[in-house]
């Protein structure tokens, strides 16, 4: 992945995350676009590219979230590392498996984020049951498209 393309992918990820979070949010349910993009980048480019992009996106999310600064950066970095290392053992090419990976990653990430909040802010950062249950579905539906975009970027 070249630097310029990677930077453009970084900006595009931020834009679509903002767009979907503000324009396509239904009752607080919105897809985790940046987590999905991190997984996609790690799946196609490997753990190095995925970690760099994930850390950058996470830092940006932390800067605007108002909660524990660094939690998203740490979470995305770990997610990218795991998917990047396990991509040889997983099928990341087919849309169903991509959706499954996304659907599994979202609740795990939510719990991780809550736990980090518990450690560093002394309270569990719980988003609520509705986002916890429906965000994975929404994110899983979006997964094939984001993985496809990451794949196209990796090919360039």
């Amino acid at each position: 992945m070249r630097i310029i393309e990677g930077f453009l992918f970084f900006l595009a990820g931020l834009f679509f995350h903002w767009l979907l979070a503000t324009r396509l949010s239904f009752g607080g349910i919105s897809p985790h676009v940046l987590l999905l993009a991190t997984l996609g980048a790690a799946a196609w480019s490997g753990p190095v590219g995925g970690q760099l992009l994930g850390f950058s996106w996470g830092l940006c999310l932390d800067a605007v979230s108002g909660h524990v600064f660094g939690a998203n950066a740490l979470g995305f970095t770990l997610a990218a590392y795991c998917v990047g290392q396990l991509r040889r053992q997983m099928d990341v090419a087919s849309p169903p498996s991509q959706a499954v990976v996304a659907a599994a990653a979202v609740p795990l990430y939510t719990v991780f984020y809550g736990l980090v909040g518990q450690v560093f802010e002394h309270r569990f950062l719980w988003p609520g049951w509705t986002p916890f249950l429906f965000d994975p579905i929404f994110t899983a539906l979006l997964a094939p498209f984001v993985f496809k975009a990451a794949r196209r970027l990796e090919k360039q």
Partner: protein, 283 residues
């Protein structure tokens, strides 16, 4: 462990350490400043993103407007074409209206019923001989009825009706070789016989040999004419023929007052119902 994995592991350690450092020191001024800087750098995103999203949302409405405008453009072009046709018709009607307005301003010929008719058809083979008009027996047109036309604002002789159909009639023009008309020079009083030659010119015979004529002299219908009211314009002298010593009269060539090619409407006079009074034809 290959090289990529080692890099990935080291990168994980570095980034995780950095994240944990930020998490641990988030209350410090340095981290707060870093957070503010990142937030500041991201500030244009919602602003420009919102504008971009607004533009994207406006795309369907804009496309609908473009399609509607295209439909209106096609309709406008069609109407413009119709308007061009209407304009041409209006122009023709305006010219016709001006001619008819001039005609309406004329005094009627005493004792005559006047009927206006349009020239329908002109046979190229008989261009200077006859025309067909859109009035016939049903409109009260009779054979031998005098037919007049407009020379500017003055009535002038065109010819006479030779055939009458129910709705049309044939007019033998004065320029036909078979046409003849008694006429005179109103300024001098000399009378002669105007005859057609099958061309644009007329010939006036039987004029006294000692009379003098000049180009431009007007010739009017004579009071002795059996068909035409007196005093109507026939034409103007365009040429004076040299005197023939073997003839007992002289002749002149006339330019017709009404050119056959310009005829659009003609006035057909009904048969005389009472003695005609010479009134003149000008306004």
């Amino acid at each position: 462990m290959n090289r990529d994995s080692r890099i990935a592991n080291w990168l994980l350690l570095i980034l995780a350490a950095a994240a944990l450092t930020l998490l641990s020191l988030q209350a410090t001024a340095k981290v707060a400043q870093l957070r503010a800087v990142v937030a500041y750098l991201l500030e244009p995103l919602p602003y420009h993103g919102d504008r971009l999203a607004a533009r994207l949302e406006a795309v369907p409405a804009g496309a609908a407007r473009i399609i509607a405008a295209d439909v209106e453009l096609v309709e406008a072009r069609r109407r413009l074409q119709e308007a061009e046709v209407l304009k041409a018709e209006l122009s023709a009607a305006r010219v016709e209206n001006e001619r008819l307005a001039v005609a309406l301003g004329m005094r009627p010929l005493a004792g005559r019923t006047v009927r206006w008719a349009r020239v329908m058809e002109r046979d190229p083979q008989n261009w200077y001989r006859s025309v067909l008009i859109d009035a016939g027996e049903e409109q009260g047109i009779d054979v031998n009825a005098p037919v007049l036309g407009l020379d500017g604002s003055t009535l002038a002789v065109v010819g006479r009706v030779t055939e009458v159909n129910p709705r049309t009639a044939k007019v033998l023009l004065l320029s036909d070789e078979l046409s003849a008309l008694a006429a005179y020079f109103p300024t001098q009083g000399w009378e002669g016989l105007v005859q057609g030659q099958g061309t644009t010119k007329l010939r006036m015979n039987y004029l006294p040999v000692d009379a003098k004529f000049a180009v431009g002299d007007e010739v009017h219908t004579s009071p002795t004419s059996a068909s035409f009211p007196p005093g109507l314009m026939v034409g103007r002298v365009s040429r004076v023929f040299q005197r023939d010593p073997f003839l007992a009269f002289q002749a002149v060539e006339l330019e017709r007052a009404v050119a056959a090619g310009r005829l659009k409407e003609v006035m057909v006079l009904a048969p005389l119902t009472e003695p005609a009074v010479p009134t003149g034809a000008s306004r």
